[in-house]
Symmetry: D2
Subunit: 442 residues, 4 copies
């Protein structure tokens, strides 16, 4: 018996504002109207906007990134009702494909300005920057970061089922407490925000309530996954998602052509509009039967494979760039590890901003290596050598001397000179480890 | 021309206290006497004690772990002078083999008591426990954790060159500041400690000075690596180590038959006495030429390979087990991730302590997944299914129902009943996420 | 500067006979009119018919396979002129993607009747049979072979540049000699054949000449590659093809969603209509500079990966199923190896015809293991366990006893009963090795 | 309970002739006296001589290879009685380790003279040659083939259970028939040979009978495996061997540090003396239950991994070097494929003999690609680029021009000049494909 063709349950319109499209939404809330119904066992295609809803252009200027409207992001496709799903079940989602939209064969990686979004290294690299990536089949390249080409480990940044009212209340409570206690000079979490709320086909009254109650989509959260930004939750993966409301109300979006562990520049994956093909299966009583408090997944068999010996691994520890010792802080250690990789890539002509973009989106491996040897956490970052079209191995660098290449530049804000952005890196270079040793200054 | 046999530059005596063996030491200090001289380009074998210097026995009681003398650990082999190495050079160390000592075909993984060493999850699992692992060729098995067998990703936990006086002073200063500011109810770093110092063949006066000044070996440190506990710095790896003193003064020890990312139970690798075969090459001016502030390495080609689709990945976020929201804290997120794996393994009959031991030493992949989506850091832990001799996949569990097996027990302190140790886990299970949802309680 | 979209240089019409479409041809000849011109450095999309030109239907009857018209096959897309290519150059073809046509999300694997095409095991399995495969993203499944699902190692079966008149003459001569000397009871090669010749847009006179002179497309040939049917010449691969005529005249077709080493049932890959995206670059004087007499290629990084320990390997030797000893004959050894795998799969309920189809199209590894130990060549075949949705490992089979499942049946010719086709296998089972041992008969 | 140490059931004496050591034998026969008894479930260590019994020396002259006594080879360790094994059972042998003998850290690869042994390419490369390999941990290097270094995929060339009288008779009959019908100008099989027979501790009378009846050890055979020379039957593998006599009478030998698919130069692996650690388990009635006519195996998880994109694949077809077309002959195709790789390596300064040796022992992948497209079988050979310490990729060769290096020479017979051996290759180069094209001659 011939198999029926795969149904597309959501189409997006790249030429229309995301906030006008009824199958999209940008909050987590149990009452967002259902965008469609899918059978238990069915495979469907779901189109998605890029996470900025189309704010970023394919050009050589990063003004769009500098002034991106961060209240108008994370437009998710859905929510979809999965027939038969009940709270306490698991929704088994098999991601059988993710592709860019055929009419949009490009994506972007951005560094947000520290005053508008920021990122993992924004104290050191505060300026907005951008790289456009062109897709050709499994590969991508960028005119803004020459010398690299790699196969996408393509995946959705966000997928999850809607929270129940109880779960939503818990989120708002615990994140509200964090905000209330915040003494840092930056946002630490994002409370419900009525501005720019998009609740699909909700009427004005419901939309208003969702604006006041709905959880923001930025963080992943343990109860449902959400924006977990996991690079190998890619094609072929099976993910088990806890169900909190009848019908599950599944949403998905924020597709990535590729991403490195940590997605460090925040808009750090190769963000794209695309289509995801997924199969759904309801696992009755799965939460209790499998004992799950957070999603689990099994990756597919088609990750790009470089061979273990084709990575350069950088080490980092929880001593920050001012030389201060932190106690077992993996976040600090991973920041140092990324800085070590950026410094290494300078040798080949890349600017720090190019490397920051590259480490965000290329398939780098970020590992928690040692987490018990007080006071230093140790992390490692594996950079695949085979994404470069020249030899970046230490052996080659050492043998031949390093020849700095002309690597051009990534896109910056209007009026920003290369000097402006290089100076910051320069200062950082001089001061790291609070002085440095004589033989480090050569 | 026939090649000369490989020279063994250090032999250890398993029947003699480590502190009496002149080629061992347990502090980092520039003035520890040289234990031998190695040519630039030479390959040598170096024997090493296990990191406790032989305190742990092959038996079924964890009293040795409970009362381990933590001032008498980390006996390193060396330091070795590498001819021609000068400050500012890099020492390229190729690890061509690591093997257990033939007469000692077993190792151990320990959970330290919270009052004596502790570990990553010691608030939840405060008791001492132990698993003995038997080695058969590339594989290990444990009578204390039945149902698993895996190939070792064998590696040294510690290797590095001696600090210069300047580097040592910096270490003592920054770690001293952390200790001075400590408000936690636990040690946050370990200052120089004269007790049980072992400085190789140093005379009493020098030994005394090294006791007062020498850096402890517990933490890895950015300037030289040291106790970085990196699981894939294994056979075939090439590691580039900064040189800080004339002759480099290279030391190595703390060999691991296997380890998981994070080595979470502290004594968490499969600790063993063994022999490491290494080749040394001096890279002149390498620190400046390669721009290195911390070691880098390239793994070898022989890591055990399971295929991407043979891992179960657990997700964790920076919300702790009391339900408290932390800001971008990868350490908290990784703790949650490990707890999710422990909970999953309960279904198959493993006690939490067995799983805690297993996740410490089996080749689990711990990744920094998302580190920019405020307020939640997200980490993942990949558990290879093929180390179990039964099917632990969610599909199998779901299809067949989970059959709890009799998994015996790991070794505990004398007088500790199974109830004692299970109760803790029980309490934790009830209270996690500060209450939990109705359908989580089933 | 924004990149131009990728040009489609050839579209096929699935509803129109292949022989009427001017961009297709089914002979190798230097004078087939050019179907389009491509720049050196350009990336293009090329659509292709399935190799039978649409003769096989998505149904449950193999009459179409039984009576397939083998003079009307191998419709290739092209030939394309690559600007600047000259004899003695190499054409570097990078395969950046291969996909099924969106409107045709299925393919087929066929066993040809011994009287019409045959296959590697046609003496044992003489009947026509068929399996239809449905595509969902990276995966395929078949209602005719239940219990398996795998990711495609997608690739073109045929690609190459046109022969020169000199090369063509050589082919016709050497293959003609083989035909002239043939004493076997079967075709050993296929001479030029005027019937059903399709020469693209050639006029009647040229077409007539091409019919008389043109080389058949069935065999791969050393000088240009052609129908080499290499499973890992897949997405991301770079292949270097010798150029024999000005403009190279590149053609491609016979796309496969997946194939096993050997493609043993002849129509053994999962045959499909699809689109291939390729980049072309001319390597001047490459034939001499690289010393190439046949194509070489470098695979891409995205092969499905199962882990070495997830294969069952079968061994076979050059002793045939009648017990006759052959001298170092790898062909005989590989036939035995495939038979061993078929026998093994019987235990799980698969009919021999289902397994014959499956081994042809699933990503099985066929190795030349030992080729020097007279008189026995030894080959191995690695069958990935993870393509099955139940455990086929010998350990599981042994532990649980093998439970024969109801595996349904593949499609057969009208009127063929299960008994008809099973009987053959049955006879073979009794007689293999010319008698067998007592304990083999249990 | 502490585990007992692993028992060594066979020690070899490198300083004593193999034929004098009672635990060795060099024929397959059911009546060779048992060399020891092993329990069902036991793990033991078994030492083995190299397959020539020590005839080859670590020097720079190949006279030992030229005049090797081929009646005095394949000394196997055993046979061992496995308690409880009966005809019809399977013996599950898990290879948990293979290591060189510590006192013999080197091995050799040889090309036999065409008049004394020969090899796969002996018509083209008729002279004896040799390369000595030095072992350092997981790696090997050779002074006779500079520029390469690789990790061993270490394995036994030969393992199997003794034939029953019935099986032995079958072997002698079918191989005898081949010999009787032989019209080739070379040996096609080796009949029982009384000269130099070694039957362990057999008395003179039994030894005499074994000499007359015993099967030679050169070929692998379907009924028991034997000399199958399978490169990934390596550490961690589980192999299921049919049992033909009570007690199984298991023998093993011919250890290889590494081997390429085909082991083309006959003495083509890196041959070594060593020790294998194996676990035995009897699978009752396994032959019938699993339906096995030949051994099967599951490889271990620790093969050296290079990443799919780190191989250069060469293609070959069944057209021989004289330009003659063969019908579906995989043996001819694989010969061509190996020649293509040898030609490619010339560009980098390697002599054909060096490459012939290298392709025999390095972990090259030899695949049966297409076996149904009459008249041409197609095979591929994947050469890992990462075993070379310089870049051999076509991209690098093309970009930089190929710089011929001084690669020295492998060891030849006394009096053989470089010219002597190069001339042969030279003639072959001129004449291949029976003339060649103009642009191939540049």
């Amino acid at each position: 018996m011939t198999k029926a063709p795969i149904r597309t349950v959501c189409k997006v319109d790249l030429d229309r504002p995301a906030e006008e499209q009824p199958y999209l939404h940008n909050r987590w809330h149990p009452d967002i109207p259902v965008a469609g119904t899918i059978k238990d066992g069915e495979t469907v295609k779901i189109e998605c906007m890029d996470w900025t809803g189309g704010q970023i252009k394919n050009d050589d200027c990063a003004d769009d990134v500098r002034f991106v409207d961060l209240t108008k992001v994370h437009y998710l496709s859905g929510p979809f009702e999965i027939e038969g799903a009940q709270p306490g079940d698991l929704l088994l989602v098999e991601i059988v494909d993710v592709q860019p939209l055929e009419e949009r064969p490009w994506g972007f990686t951005g560094i947000f300005d520290r005053r508008n979004g920021g990122g993992f290294l924004d104290e050191i690299y505060p300026s907005a920057a951008k790289a456009i990536w062109d897709f050709e089949g499994i590969y991508c390249t960028s005119r803004h970061i020459p010398g690299v080409k790699f196969a996408g480990l393509i995946h959705p940044g966000i997928l999850g089922c809607a929270p129940s009212a109880e779960v939503l209340e818990r989120w708002n409570k615990r994140e509200g407490e964090l905000i209330a206690q915040n003494k840092l000079d930056r946002d630490v979490a994002m409370p419900p925000e009525p501005m720019s709320v998009h609740a699909g086909s909700a009427d004005a009254r419901l939309k208003d309530r969702i604006g006041r109650e709905g959880a923001r989509t930025i963080p992943g959260r343990p109860e449902h996954g959400g924006n977990c930004d996991i690079k190998n939750l890619s094609r072929g993966s099976k993910v088990y998602l806890p169900v909190h409301v009848p019908g599950a109300k599944f949403s998905v979006g924020d597709l990535h052509f590729s991403q490195g562990d940590g997605e460090i520049s925040f808009c750090g994956a190769i963000e794209m509009a695309g289509v995801i093909t997924v199969n759904f299966r309801v696992v009755k009583n799965g939460v209790a039967n499998l004992g799950l408090k957070s999603p689990i997944y099994i990756p597919g068999p088609v990750e790009p494979q470089f061979g273990p010996g084709r990575y350069i691994y950088f080490e980092g520890f929880s001593v920050d760039e001012e030389g201060k010792q932190h106690y077992m802080d993996v976040t600090v250690a991973y920041r140092q590890t990324t800085l070590r990789a950026i410094e290494y890539l300078r040798r080949f002509g890349y600017s720090d901003y190019q490397s920051y973009l590259l480490l965000s989106c290329a398939p780098v491996q970020g590992h928690v290596a040692g987490i018990v040897d007080i006071p230093n956490a140790c992390t490692t970052l594996g950079l695949p050598m085979d994404i470069f079209d020249f030899d970046i191995s230490p052996a080659a660098a050492e043998a031949a001397g390093v020849r700095r290449r002309d690597m051009g530049r990534c896109a910056f804000e209007t009026g920003k000179t290369e000097g402006d952005v290089r100076n910051v890196a320069g200062r950082y270079a001089e001061t790291s480890f609070g002085g440095g040793l004589t033989y480090l200054k050569k």
